[in-house]
C-alpha cells in the first residue's frame, strides 16, 4: 500500500455503510471485550466486520475461535540514498523535520525508525540522489472467525501507527463494521475514529475513568462524531461519571455491572455473552442502540 495517504475527512472506508467505533480515554475499561461481544451479537443478524485498530497492542483475536487469516505487510516509503549521485551537500538533512537523516563522513545515513515518510528529502535533493523503497512497518491480518475480522499491528519500535490503522480500515469488506480503537485520545485513537458514524465511549465510574472520558469526549466532539457512553463495572466507584455525562449532554447508553465471572471468563478468552442470558441481553440491547446511533453529542 505504498503511496499517498487517503484523504481523512468524509471518506467511507472500504465498502462499509455503518461504522461504529468503540473507544475510551482510559485503558483497560473493557473496550475490546465490548467490541467483540457486540460484533458477535450483531453478526447473528448482519454481515459484520470487526476491526482491531489498537495497532500497538491488538488483542481482540484472543476472544475469537478458529481464526484463519491472511496477512499483508503495511508498507510506507522510505528514502534510500544513491551514493554515486550524492554530493554530500546535506540539504536533505536540513529539510528533515524528524532528524531521520545525518551526514557522517560525507555520506548520508538514514535512521529508518525515525522516518515519517513525508517524501521531503526525495523532492528536495538537488542531485536527485534519493529514491524511495517500501519499508514494512506493520501487518494487516484479514480473516474470518464468527464474522470478518481485520487486525492491524504495528511492528515493535516503529512509528507511524496511523498508517497501520488506516490500512486496517481500508480493508473493511462488510456493510457494518465495529472498530476496536486504541485507548487514549492521541493521534492513533483519532485515526481510528475518523470517519465513523457513531462512537461508544467506554469508561468506568472512577476518578481515572472520569478524567480520561473527558479527554476522549473532547476528541469525538472535535470531529463531530455522535457518541454514547458505556459505563462498565458501573457498581464499583462513584457517580461522578454519570454527573459529568448529564452536565455535558452525553447519553449513557449502557451501564454494565462488575462481574468477576465475566472478568475471569475474559481472562481465559471466553465471551461475556456466553456466561449468562443476562449478559447476552445486555449486549443485544447495546447493539440495538449502537446501530440506531442513539446518543446525543453537544
Amino acid at each position: 500500500m505504498i503511496g499517498r495517504f487517503e484523504r481523512p475527512i468524509h471518506v467511507k472506508w472500504g465498502v462499509s455503510l455503518l461504522l461504529i467505533a468503540v473507544a475510551s480515554g482510559k485503558g483497560g475499561t473493557g473496550k475490546t471485550t465490548i467490541a467483540v461481544n457486540l460484533a458477535m451479537v450483531l453478526s447473528e443478524t448482519n454481515s459484520v466486520c470487526l476491526v482491531d485498530a489498537d495497532a500497538e497492542q491488538p488483542n481482540a483475536h484472543l476472544l475469537l475461535k478458529d481464526l484463519e487469516y491472511e496477512a499483508s505487510d503495511v508498507v510506507v516509503p522510505m528514502p534510500v540514498i544513491d551514493n554515486d549521485l550524492c554530493s554530500g551537500c546535506g540539504e536533505c538533512v536540513q529539510v528533515c523535520a524528524h532528524n531521520a537523516l545525518a551526514l557522517v563522513g560525507g555520506k548520508v545515513m538514514v535512521f529508518s525508525d525515525l522516518c515519517h515518510s513525508c517524501g521531503g528529502c526525495v523532492l528536495l535533493c538537488p542531485e536527485g540522489a534519493i529514491v524511495e523503497r517500501e519499508r514494512t512497518i506493520g501487518t494487516v491480518r484479514r480473516g474470518v472467525a464468527e464474522f470478518e475480522f481485520i487486525q492491524g499491528e504495528l511492528n515493535v519500535t516503529q512509528m507511524l501507527v496511523q498508517s497501520v490503522i488506516r490500512a486496517a480500515k481500508q480493508a473493511i469488506g462488510q456493510q457494518l463494521a465495529i472498530i476496536d480503537c486504541p485507548p487514549g485520545s492521541s493521534c492513533a485513537m483519532v485515526e481510528a475514529i475518523r470517519g465513523v458514524d457513531y462512537c461508544l465511549l467506554v469508561t468506568e465510574p472512577t476518578p481515572f475513568g472520569l478524567h480520561d472520558l473527558q479527554l476522549a469526549h473532547e476528541a469525538v466532539r472535535s470531529y463531530q462524531i455522535p457518541s454514547g457512553v458505556v459505563v462498565n463495572r458501573c457498581d464499583i466507584g462513584d457517580d461522578a461519571v454519570l454527573k459529568y455525562c448529564q452536565a455535558s449532554g452525553l447519553s449513557v447508553v449502557a451501564e454494565l455491572p462488575y462481574d468477576l465471572n465475566v472478568a475471569r471468563a475474559g481472562s481465559r478468552g471466553k465471551l461475556a455473552i456466553e456466561v449468562s442470558k443476562e449478559w447476552n441481553d445486555r449486549f443485544s440491547d447495546l447493539a440495538r442502540i449502537a446501530v440506531a446511533g442513539k446518543g446525543g453529542l453537544k
Binding site: 499517498r4 528536495l124 515493535v156 476518578p207 466507584g237 481472562s267
Partner: protein
Amino acid sequence: MKQLAVISGKGGTGKTTVVGGLCALASDAVFVDADVDAANLGLILGTHPGQRHPFYGLKKASIDRKRCVECLSCADACRQNAIFDFEVDTKICAGCRVCYHVCPEKAVDLIDVIQGHWEVSDTRYGYLVHARLCPGASNSGQLVSKVRSQGQQLVDSNAGSLIIIDGPAGSGCPVISAITGVDLVLIVTEPSLSGIRDLKKVVSLCEHFRLQMVACINKYDLNRDLMVDIEEACKNRGIDVVGRIPLDRSVMEAMTAGRVVVSYPDSDAGCAINEMWRGLEHRLR
C-alpha cells in the same frame, strides 16, 4: 541519580495504582507522569496546581494567501492531505515542512500551535511533572521527553535522587520515550491472555533497547493458571517477578478518595506494593 520507569503494554493492569504506591513509599524521589495522553497519577497524590507551560511540538504549516499563487505545489507534496482550498488543517498537519520547502513563492509560514501543556506540581509526597496532550495531537513522544527532562532538572537542582516514571500503555513512540535510558523498567501485568501477550511485546521492546526489567503481577488471583504462565514466561526471559498484588477493593476506595492504596494499612494490595518496594529500592541503589 536513578530512573525507574513503569509500563504495562496492556492498559488497565494497574500501572498508575502501583506507581502511586511507590511514590508514597520512596523518599527523595521526583515523579514524572509520562502518560501524557491520559495523565492520572496526580489524581491520587494530592496534587496542587503548578504553573502551566505550553507545549508546541513541531511547527505547523500556514499558507499566507497574499503570497500564495494557488499553484498547488504544496497540496501535491503533502502526504497527509492536510491542505485543502489553500489552507492547512493544523489538526492533520504533521509538521514535516515539505510544503514550506517546495512552495515557489515562499508563501508558507511555520507557526507554533499549542499541542498541549506541561506542569510541575507539588504533591503530598514530592514534585510531580505531568502534562496533557491535546486530543488528536501527535508528537506525544516529544512531550514525554519534555516531562522527563523537566524531572531531570528537578533532580539536578537537588529535589531528589530517584525519578519514578509512570509510563503510557502500549508499545509505541510515547512508551519508547518513557523508557529510553532508564536504570530499571518495572512491567505491571495481569493474568489474562491479553495481559500476557502485551507483556511479551513490551519485553521485546525493552530487550531492543537493552534495558533491565522486572515484572509485577497485579490482580494475580484473577486467574491463577495464567499467573503461573506469566511466572514461567518471565523466568524464560530472565525477568524476576518482584511483586504479586491481589484483587482488592481498597484500590478503588483509595482512588475514589484521591489517595494511594498504600495509605490503607489493612489493604492487601497496599501491603504487596510495600513489599515490592523494598525489593525495588534495593535494586535501585
